[in-house]
Protein backbone atom coordinates (compact mmCIF):
# COMPACT_ATOMS: atom_id res chain seq x y z
CA UNK A 1 0.00 0.00 0.00
CA UNK A 2 1.27 3.46 -0.83
CA UNK A 3 0.44 6.46 1.30
CA UNK A 4 0.18 8.90 -1.56
CA UNK A 5 0.18 8.18 -5.23
CA UNK A 6 -0.23 10.74 -7.95
CA UNK A 7 -0.38 10.02 -11.65
CA UNK A 8 0.03 12.56 -14.40
CA UNK A 9 -0.89 15.64 -12.37
CA UNK A 10 -1.36 18.81 -14.41
CA UNK A 11 -2.36 22.17 -12.97
CA UNK A 12 -2.34 25.69 -14.30
CA UNK A 13 -2.89 29.27 -13.17
CA UNK A 14 -4.83 30.80 -16.04
CA UNK A 15 -2.78 30.09 -19.14
CA UNK A 16 0.40 29.28 -17.25
CA UNK A 17 1.00 25.54 -16.85
CA UNK A 18 2.45 25.10 -13.37
CA UNK A 19 2.49 21.31 -13.18
CA UNK A 20 3.10 19.11 -16.19
CA UNK A 21 2.38 15.44 -15.75
CA UNK A 22 3.84 14.91 -12.30
CA UNK A 23 3.75 11.32 -11.04
CA UNK A 24 5.05 10.42 -7.63
CA UNK A 25 4.42 7.65 -5.13
CA UNK A 26 5.23 7.91 -1.45
CA UNK A 27 5.44 4.79 0.71
CA UNK A 28 4.48 4.58 4.39
CA UNK A 29 7.15 5.98 6.73
CA UNK A 30 8.98 7.49 3.81
CA UNK A 31 10.39 11.03 3.98
CA UNK A 32 10.48 12.73 0.60
CA UNK A 33 12.08 16.12 0.17
CA UNK A 34 11.19 18.18 -2.88
CA UNK A 35 13.84 20.67 -3.95
CA UNK A 36 14.17 22.99 -6.91
CA UNK A 37 14.27 26.63 -7.95
CA UNK A 38 11.34 28.91 -7.17
CA UNK A 39 8.56 28.68 -9.71
CA UNK A 40 9.26 25.02 -10.32
CA UNK A 41 5.81 24.02 -9.01
CA UNK A 42 6.95 22.42 -5.73
CA UNK A 43 4.47 24.17 -3.48
CA UNK A 44 1.66 23.89 -6.01
CA UNK A 45 2.21 20.16 -6.22
CA UNK A 46 2.10 19.82 -2.45
CA UNK A 47 -1.08 21.89 -2.28
CA UNK A 48 -2.88 19.76 -4.86
CA UNK A 49 -2.49 16.80 -2.48
CA UNK A 50 -4.52 18.64 0.14
CA UNK A 51 -7.06 20.08 -2.30
CA UNK A 52 -5.88 23.62 -1.76
CA UNK A 53 -5.15 23.76 -5.48
CA UNK A 54 -7.26 22.32 -8.29
CA UNK A 55 -5.83 19.91 -10.79
CA UNK A 56 -6.73 19.76 -14.48
CA UNK A 57 -5.51 16.32 -15.17
CA UNK A 58 -4.39 13.21 -13.33
CA UNK A 59 -5.26 10.99 -10.40
CA UNK A 60 -4.60 11.45 -6.70
CA UNK A 61 -4.73 8.45 -4.40
CA UNK A 62 -4.42 8.63 -0.64
CA UNK A 63 -3.93 5.28 1.04
CA UNK A 64 -4.82 3.68 -2.30
CA UNK A 65 -8.19 5.40 -2.35
CA UNK A 66 -8.89 7.45 -5.45
CA UNK A 67 -9.81 10.99 -4.36
CA UNK A 68 -9.49 12.94 -7.56
CA UNK A 69 -9.51 11.99 -11.20
CA UNK A 70 -9.48 14.58 -13.96
CA UNK A 71 -8.77 14.29 -17.66
CA UNK A 72 -8.08 17.51 -19.56
CA UNK A 73 -10.01 19.61 -17.09
CA UNK A 74 -12.95 17.24 -16.98
CA UNK A 75 -13.84 15.45 -13.78
CA UNK A 76 -13.97 11.71 -14.35
CA UNK A 77 -14.76 10.45 -10.90
CA UNK A 78 -16.54 11.88 -7.90
CA UNK A 79 -15.96 10.48 -4.44
CA UNK A 80 -18.75 11.14 -1.91
CA UNK A 81 -17.83 14.36 -0.04
CA UNK A 82 -17.90 12.63 3.35
CA UNK A 83 -15.45 9.94 2.31
CA UNK A 84 -13.22 12.50 0.76
CA UNK A 85 -13.25 14.68 3.88
CA UNK A 86 -12.45 11.64 6.03
CA UNK A 87 -9.53 10.67 3.81
CA UNK A 88 -8.17 14.22 3.75
CA UNK A 89 -8.04 14.15 7.55
CA UNK A 90 -5.17 11.70 7.16
CA UNK A 91 -3.16 14.52 5.61
CA UNK A 92 -1.78 17.28 7.84
CA UNK A 93 -0.17 20.42 6.52
CA UNK A 94 2.34 22.97 7.76
CA UNK A 95 2.58 26.27 5.90
CA UNK A 96 5.42 28.61 5.15
CA UNK A 97 3.69 31.47 6.99
CA UNK A 98 2.46 29.30 9.91
CA UNK A 99 -1.16 30.50 9.57
CA UNK A 100 -1.87 30.13 13.28
CA UNK A 101 -5.23 31.47 14.42
CA UNK A 102 -4.27 34.83 15.96
CA UNK A 103 -7.41 35.15 18.10
CA UNK A 104 -6.79 31.84 19.88
CA UNK A 105 -4.13 30.99 22.43
CA UNK A 106 -1.48 28.42 21.62
CA UNK A 107 -3.41 25.72 23.46
CA UNK A 108 -6.70 26.65 21.75
CA UNK A 109 -4.98 26.59 18.37
CA UNK A 110 -4.05 22.97 18.94
CA UNK A 111 -7.41 21.97 20.48
CA UNK A 112 -9.85 23.62 18.10
CA UNK A 113 -9.82 21.15 15.20
CA UNK A 114 -9.94 17.93 17.27
CA UNK A 115 -12.86 19.33 19.27
CA UNK A 116 -14.87 20.63 16.32
CA UNK A 117 -13.93 18.30 13.50
CA UNK A 118 -13.33 15.06 15.39
CA UNK A 119 -15.82 15.95 18.16
CA UNK A 120 -13.34 15.07 20.86
CA UNK A 121 -14.20 16.09 24.40
CA UNK A 122 -12.48 19.16 25.75
CA UNK A 123 -10.59 17.10 28.32
CA UNK A 124 -9.26 14.68 25.70
CA UNK A 125 -8.33 17.45 23.31
CA UNK A 126 -6.54 19.34 26.09
CA UNK A 127 -4.59 16.29 27.20
CA UNK A 128 -3.46 15.58 23.66
CA UNK A 129 -2.61 19.24 23.04
CA UNK A 130 -0.48 19.48 26.18
CA UNK A 131 1.32 16.30 25.21
CA UNK A 132 2.06 17.62 21.71
CA UNK A 133 3.13 21.06 22.90
CA UNK A 134 5.48 19.43 25.36
CA UNK A 135 6.88 17.35 22.54
CA UNK A 136 7.67 20.45 20.46
CA UNK A 137 9.12 22.16 23.53
CA UNK A 138 6.41 24.78 24.11
CA UNK A 139 4.67 23.58 27.24
CA UNK A 140 5.42 26.93 28.90
CA UNK A 141 3.75 28.97 26.11
CA UNK A 142 0.33 27.33 26.14
CA UNK A 143 -1.62 30.40 27.23
CA UNK A 144 0.22 32.88 25.04
CA UNK A 145 -1.28 34.33 21.87
CA UNK A 146 0.65 33.58 18.67
CA UNK A 147 1.78 37.19 18.22
CA UNK A 148 3.85 36.87 21.40
CA UNK A 149 5.90 34.01 19.94
CA UNK A 150 8.96 33.99 17.69
CA UNK A 151 8.59 32.60 14.17
CA UNK A 152 10.27 29.35 15.16
CA UNK A 153 7.93 28.91 18.11
CA UNK A 154 4.91 29.68 15.93
CA UNK A 155 5.96 27.09 13.39
CA UNK A 156 6.38 24.49 16.14
CA UNK A 157 2.85 25.29 17.36
CA UNK A 158 1.64 24.87 13.77
CA UNK A 159 3.26 21.43 13.66
CA UNK A 160 1.61 20.46 16.96
CA UNK A 161 -1.72 21.76 15.64
CA UNK A 162 -1.47 19.57 12.54
CA UNK A 163 -0.37 16.54 14.59
CA UNK A 164 -3.36 16.97 16.92
CA UNK A 165 -5.56 15.62 14.12
CA UNK A 166 -3.43 12.45 14.16
CA UNK A 167 -2.66 12.44 10.45
CA UNK A 168 -0.77 9.63 8.76
CA UNK A 169 0.91 11.95 6.30
CA UNK A 170 2.44 15.36 6.94
CA UNK A 171 3.02 17.91 4.20
CA UNK A 172 5.50 20.72 4.86
CA UNK A 173 5.41 23.70 2.51
CA UNK A 174 8.75 25.47 2.94
CA UNK A 175 8.37 25.39 6.72
CA UNK A 176 11.55 27.34 7.45
CA UNK A 177 11.60 29.84 4.58
CA UNK A 178 9.93 32.61 6.58
CA UNK A 179 12.20 32.19 9.60
CA UNK A 180 15.25 34.09 10.72
CA UNK A 181 18.33 31.91 10.21
CA UNK A 182 18.90 31.33 13.93
CA UNK A 183 15.36 29.92 14.32
CA UNK A 184 15.55 27.37 11.50
CA UNK A 185 17.30 24.73 13.59
CA UNK A 186 14.59 24.36 16.25
CA UNK A 187 11.93 23.68 13.62
CA UNK A 188 14.09 21.26 11.66
CA UNK A 189 14.91 19.29 14.79
CA UNK A 190 11.19 18.85 15.55
CA UNK A 191 10.68 17.64 11.97
CA UNK A 192 13.66 15.31 12.22
CA UNK A 193 12.21 13.80 15.39
CA UNK A 194 8.92 13.31 13.61
CA UNK A 195 10.65 11.50 10.75
CA UNK A 196 12.46 9.26 13.21
CA UNK A 197 9.13 8.41 14.82
CA UNK A 198 8.02 7.04 11.49
CA UNK A 199 5.77 9.75 10.08
CA UNK A 200 5.27 9.77 6.33
CA UNK A 201 6.40 13.19 5.20
CA UNK A 202 6.65 15.26 2.05
CA UNK A 203 8.78 18.33 2.62
CA UNK A 204 9.25 21.18 0.16
CA UNK A 205 12.43 22.79 1.35
CA UNK A 206 15.47 24.90 0.57
CA UNK A 207 17.37 23.35 3.47
CA UNK A 208 19.77 21.05 1.62
CA UNK A 209 21.36 19.90 4.88
CA UNK A 210 17.99 18.64 6.11
CA UNK A 211 17.24 16.91 2.80
CA UNK A 212 20.63 15.21 2.82
CA UNK A 213 20.35 14.07 6.41
CA UNK A 214 16.69 13.17 6.85
CA UNK A 215 15.21 12.36 3.44
CA UNK A 216 14.84 8.82 2.18
CA UNK A 217 14.34 10.23 -1.27
CA UNK A 218 15.01 13.62 -2.83
CA UNK A 219 12.92 14.86 -5.75
CA UNK A 220 14.21 17.66 -7.94
CA UNK A 221 11.51 19.66 -9.71
CA UNK A 222 12.13 22.01 -12.58
CA UNK A 223 9.60 23.83 -14.77
CA UNK A 224 6.59 21.92 -13.43
CA UNK A 225 8.14 18.50 -13.85
CA UNK A 226 10.12 16.02 -11.83
CA UNK A 227 13.52 16.29 -13.47
CA UNK A 228 15.37 13.80 -11.29
CA UNK A 229 14.84 11.79 -8.13
CA UNK A 230 16.89 9.44 -6.02
CA UNK A 231 18.52 8.90 -2.67
CA UNK A 232 20.24 11.92 -1.13
CA UNK A 233 23.60 10.41 -2.11
CA UNK A 234 22.58 10.09 -5.74
CA UNK A 235 21.09 13.57 -5.91
CA UNK A 236 23.76 15.50 -4.06
CA UNK A 237 26.88 13.53 -4.98
CA UNK A 238 26.12 12.28 -8.43
CA UNK A 239 23.48 14.46 -10.07
CA UNK A 240 22.75 13.53 -13.67
CA UNK A 241 20.36 16.23 -14.83
CA UNK A 242 22.08 19.38 -16.04
CA UNK A 243 19.51 21.68 -14.37
CA UNK A 244 20.04 19.89 -11.09
CA UNK A 245 23.79 20.31 -11.37
CA UNK A 246 23.31 24.04 -11.97
CA UNK A 247 20.82 24.31 -9.13
CA UNK A 248 23.10 22.58 -6.65
CA UNK A 249 26.00 24.78 -7.71
CA UNK A 250 23.99 27.94 -7.13
CA UNK A 251 22.67 26.73 -3.77
CA UNK A 252 26.06 25.67 -2.48
CA UNK A 253 27.84 28.82 -3.66
CA UNK A 254 25.51 30.94 -1.47
Amino acid sequence: MSMIKTEDICASFGKLDVLKHVSLTVEPREVVCIIGPSGAGKSTYLRTLNHLEHIKNGKIFIEDKLLDYYENGERKYKIPPKERAAELLEVGMVFQRFNLFPHKTVLQNVMIAPMNVKKKSEADARKKAIELLTRVGLADKMDAYPNKLSGGQQQRVAIARALAMEPKIMLFDEPTSALDPELVGEVLSVMKQLAEDGMTMIVVTHEMGFAREVADRVVFMYDGQIAEQGTPEQIFQNPQNERLQQFLKSVISQ
Partner: protein, 219 residues
Protein backbone atom coordinates in the same frame (compact mmCIF):
# COMPACT_ATOMS: atom_id res chain seq x y z
CA UNK B 1 -30.24 82.79 33.41
CA UNK B 2 -33.63 82.80 31.82
CA UNK B 3 -32.28 80.58 29.04
CA UNK B 4 -30.97 78.07 31.57
CA UNK B 5 -34.39 77.88 33.25
CA UNK B 6 -36.03 77.31 29.90
CA UNK B 7 -33.61 74.54 29.11
CA UNK B 8 -34.30 72.80 32.39
CA UNK B 9 -38.01 73.08 31.72
CA UNK B 10 -37.56 71.45 28.27
CA UNK B 11 -35.32 68.67 29.49
CA UNK B 12 -37.95 66.02 30.38
CA UNK B 13 -39.57 66.26 26.95
CA UNK B 14 -36.21 66.15 25.20
CA UNK B 15 -35.14 63.13 27.22
CA UNK B 16 -38.34 61.33 26.26
CA UNK B 17 -37.43 62.09 22.64
CA UNK B 18 -33.90 60.87 23.26
CA UNK B 19 -35.27 57.56 24.44
CA UNK B 20 -37.01 57.04 21.09
CA UNK B 21 -33.95 58.16 19.13
CA UNK B 22 -31.59 55.85 21.03
CA UNK B 23 -33.91 52.85 20.96
CA UNK B 24 -34.52 53.26 17.25
CA UNK B 25 -30.80 53.58 16.52
CA UNK B 26 -29.79 50.59 18.62
CA UNK B 27 -32.60 48.37 17.36
CA UNK B 28 -32.13 49.29 13.69
CA UNK B 29 -28.36 48.84 13.55
CA UNK B 30 -28.58 45.59 15.57
CA UNK B 31 -31.17 44.20 13.17
CA UNK B 32 -29.11 45.54 10.29
CA UNK B 33 -26.02 43.71 11.55
CA UNK B 34 -27.86 40.40 11.73
CA UNK B 35 -29.30 40.85 8.23
CA UNK B 36 -25.93 41.94 6.94
CA UNK B 37 -24.05 38.79 8.02
CA UNK B 38 -26.34 36.76 5.77
CA UNK B 39 -26.18 39.35 3.00
CA UNK B 40 -22.38 39.41 3.16
CA UNK B 41 -22.06 35.63 3.07
CA UNK B 42 -24.64 35.62 0.26
CA UNK B 43 -22.67 38.15 -1.75
CA UNK B 44 -19.60 35.91 -1.43
CA UNK B 45 -21.58 32.77 -2.26
CA UNK B 46 -20.65 30.57 -5.18
CA UNK B 47 -24.32 30.44 -6.16
CA UNK B 48 -25.03 33.10 -8.81
CA UNK B 49 -28.69 33.53 -7.91
CA UNK B 50 -28.01 34.09 -4.21
CA UNK B 51 -25.24 36.51 -5.13
CA UNK B 52 -27.54 38.43 -7.47
CA UNK B 53 -30.35 38.69 -4.90
CA UNK B 54 -28.02 39.99 -2.20
CA UNK B 55 -26.36 42.45 -4.57
CA UNK B 56 -29.75 43.76 -5.70
CA UNK B 57 -30.82 44.26 -2.08
CA UNK B 58 -27.71 46.27 -1.29
CA UNK B 59 -27.99 48.23 -4.51
CA UNK B 60 -31.59 49.16 -3.79
CA UNK B 61 -31.18 50.25 -0.17
CA UNK B 62 -27.99 52.17 -0.76
CA UNK B 63 -29.20 53.65 -4.01
CA UNK B 64 -32.44 55.25 -2.80
CA UNK B 65 -32.86 57.89 -0.06
CA UNK B 66 -33.61 56.59 3.41
CA UNK B 67 -36.32 59.24 3.68
CA UNK B 68 -38.14 57.74 0.69
CA UNK B 69 -37.76 54.23 2.08
CA UNK B 70 -39.33 55.41 5.31
CA UNK B 71 -42.21 57.14 3.49
CA UNK B 72 -42.76 54.05 1.42
CA UNK B 73 -42.90 51.64 4.36
CA UNK B 74 -45.31 53.88 6.23
CA UNK B 75 -47.52 55.27 3.43
CA UNK B 76 -46.76 53.14 0.36
CA UNK B 77 -47.10 49.58 1.65
CA UNK B 78 -50.71 50.00 2.90
CA UNK B 79 -51.67 51.17 -0.58
CA UNK B 80 -50.26 48.01 -2.17
CA UNK B 81 -52.12 45.81 0.27
CA UNK B 82 -54.00 46.94 3.38
CA UNK B 83 -52.58 43.92 5.20
CA UNK B 84 -49.21 45.65 5.06
CA UNK B 85 -50.42 48.63 7.08
CA UNK B 86 -48.11 49.39 9.99
CA UNK B 87 -49.91 51.54 12.50
CA UNK B 88 -47.09 51.62 15.00
CA UNK B 89 -44.83 54.46 13.83
CA UNK B 90 -41.84 53.16 15.74
CA UNK B 91 -42.23 49.74 14.13
CA UNK B 92 -42.48 51.29 10.66
CA UNK B 93 -39.33 53.32 11.26
CA UNK B 94 -37.54 50.29 12.69
CA UNK B 95 -38.37 48.20 9.59
CA UNK B 96 -37.21 50.86 7.14
CA UNK B 97 -34.05 51.66 9.12
CA UNK B 98 -33.17 48.05 9.88
CA UNK B 99 -33.44 47.06 6.22
CA UNK B 100 -31.42 50.09 5.19
CA UNK B 101 -28.75 49.52 7.80
CA UNK B 102 -28.44 45.89 6.67
CA UNK B 103 -27.30 47.08 3.25
CA UNK B 104 -24.62 49.38 4.67
CA UNK B 105 -23.40 46.86 7.26
CA UNK B 106 -23.23 44.19 4.56
CA UNK B 107 -20.42 46.03 2.84
CA UNK B 108 -18.68 46.57 6.20
CA UNK B 109 -18.83 42.87 7.04
CA UNK B 110 -17.84 41.74 3.57
CA UNK B 111 -14.80 44.02 3.63
CA UNK B 112 -13.84 42.74 7.10
CA UNK B 113 -14.14 39.09 6.07
CA UNK B 114 -12.20 39.66 2.88
CA UNK B 115 -9.44 41.42 4.79
CA UNK B 116 -8.69 38.20 6.68
CA UNK B 117 -5.56 36.50 5.37
CA UNK B 118 -6.21 33.71 2.85
CA UNK B 119 -3.90 31.51 4.92
CA UNK B 120 -6.55 31.37 7.66
CA UNK B 121 -9.01 29.72 5.26
CA UNK B 122 -6.32 27.34 4.04
CA UNK B 123 -5.21 26.34 7.53
CA UNK B 124 -8.85 25.70 8.51
CA UNK B 125 -9.40 23.59 5.42
CA UNK B 126 -6.20 21.64 5.98
CA UNK B 127 -7.43 20.85 9.51
CA UNK B 128 -10.64 19.43 8.09
CA UNK B 129 -13.03 22.23 9.02
CA UNK B 130 -15.98 22.78 6.72
CA UNK B 131 -17.16 26.19 5.49
CA UNK B 132 -19.54 26.78 8.41
CA UNK B 133 -16.95 25.86 11.04
CA UNK B 134 -14.31 27.99 9.34
CA UNK B 135 -16.61 31.02 9.29
CA UNK B 136 -17.95 30.58 12.81
CA UNK B 137 -14.75 29.64 14.61
CA UNK B 138 -11.99 31.31 12.64
CA UNK B 139 -13.04 34.03 10.23
CA UNK B 140 -15.97 35.87 11.84
CA UNK B 141 -14.32 36.18 15.29
CA UNK B 142 -11.28 37.74 13.64
CA UNK B 143 -13.48 40.04 11.57
CA UNK B 144 -15.11 41.48 14.69
CA UNK B 145 -12.07 43.50 15.64
CA UNK B 146 -11.99 45.05 12.16
CA UNK B 147 -15.74 45.63 12.17
CA UNK B 148 -15.82 47.72 15.30
CA UNK B 149 -14.64 51.09 13.93
CA UNK B 150 -16.94 51.14 10.86
CA UNK B 151 -19.90 49.76 12.83
CA UNK B 152 -19.36 52.51 15.42
CA UNK B 153 -19.50 54.94 12.52
CA UNK B 154 -22.75 53.34 11.30
CA UNK B 155 -24.32 53.83 14.75
CA UNK B 156 -23.39 57.50 14.76
CA UNK B 157 -24.70 58.05 11.23
CA UNK B 158 -27.92 56.22 12.09
CA UNK B 159 -28.35 58.32 15.23
CA UNK B 160 -28.63 61.40 13.08
CA UNK B 161 -30.58 59.73 10.27
CA UNK B 162 -33.07 58.82 12.98
CA UNK B 163 -34.09 62.49 13.02
CA UNK B 164 -35.92 61.82 9.73
CA UNK B 165 -38.65 59.96 11.62
CA UNK B 166 -40.08 63.31 12.68
CA UNK B 167 -41.77 63.36 9.25
CA UNK B 168 -43.98 60.41 10.21
CA UNK B 169 -44.67 62.19 13.50
CA UNK B 170 -42.64 59.87 15.70
CA UNK B 171 -41.61 61.84 18.77
CA UNK B 172 -37.82 61.58 18.60
CA UNK B 173 -35.47 64.38 19.73
CA UNK B 174 -35.91 66.33 16.50
CA UNK B 175 -39.70 66.07 16.51
CA UNK B 176 -39.87 67.11 20.18
CA UNK B 177 -37.56 70.01 19.50
CA UNK B 178 -39.72 71.21 16.62
CA UNK B 179 -42.86 71.03 18.76
CA UNK B 180 -41.24 73.02 21.54
CA UNK B 181 -40.02 75.53 18.98
CA UNK B 182 -43.51 76.07 17.58
CA UNK B 183 -45.29 76.15 20.94
CA UNK B 184 -42.82 78.60 22.55
CA UNK B 185 -41.88 80.35 19.31
CA UNK B 186 -38.28 80.19 20.47
CA UNK B 187 -35.56 78.51 18.45
CA UNK B 188 -33.18 78.37 21.39
CA UNK B 189 -34.43 74.84 22.08
CA UNK B 190 -32.02 73.71 19.35
CA UNK B 191 -29.13 74.34 21.74
CA UNK B 192 -30.04 71.69 24.36
CA UNK B 193 -31.24 69.39 21.56
CA UNK B 194 -27.90 69.51 19.80
CA UNK B 195 -26.07 69.05 23.09
CA UNK B 196 -28.17 65.95 23.65
CA UNK B 197 -27.12 64.52 20.26
CA UNK B 198 -23.49 65.26 21.10
CA UNK B 199 -23.77 63.47 24.46
CA UNK B 200 -25.24 60.36 22.82
CA UNK B 201 -22.57 60.43 20.11
CA UNK B 202 -19.90 60.71 22.79
CA UNK B 203 -21.30 57.69 24.62
CA UNK B 204 -21.31 55.62 21.41
CA UNK B 205 -17.73 56.71 20.72
CA UNK B 206 -16.53 55.73 24.19
CA UNK B 207 -18.26 52.35 24.08
CA UNK B 208 -16.76 51.53 20.67
CA UNK B 209 -13.28 52.62 21.70
CA UNK B 210 -13.53 50.28 24.70
CA UNK B 211 -14.75 47.42 22.52
CA UNK B 212 -11.92 47.99 20.09
CA UNK B 213 -9.37 47.79 22.88
CA UNK B 214 -10.95 44.67 24.28
CA UNK B 215 -10.79 42.86 20.94
CA UNK B 216 -7.28 44.01 20.18
CA UNK B 217 -5.53 41.81 22.72
CA UNK B 218 -4.10 39.51 20.09
CA UNK B 219 -3.14 42.07 17.44
Amino acid sequence: MELLQKMIRWTPQLLAGAKITILLTLASVSAGLIISVFLALGKMSKNKIIRAICSAYVFFFRGTPLLMQLYFVYYGLPEINPALTINNRFLAAFIAYGLNSGAYCCEIIRAAIQSIDKGQFEASKALGMNYGQTMKLIILPQSIRRLIPPVGNEFIMMLKDASLVSIIALADITKVTRSIQSSTSSSLVYIPAMILYLIITAIFTIVFNRLEKKYSVYE
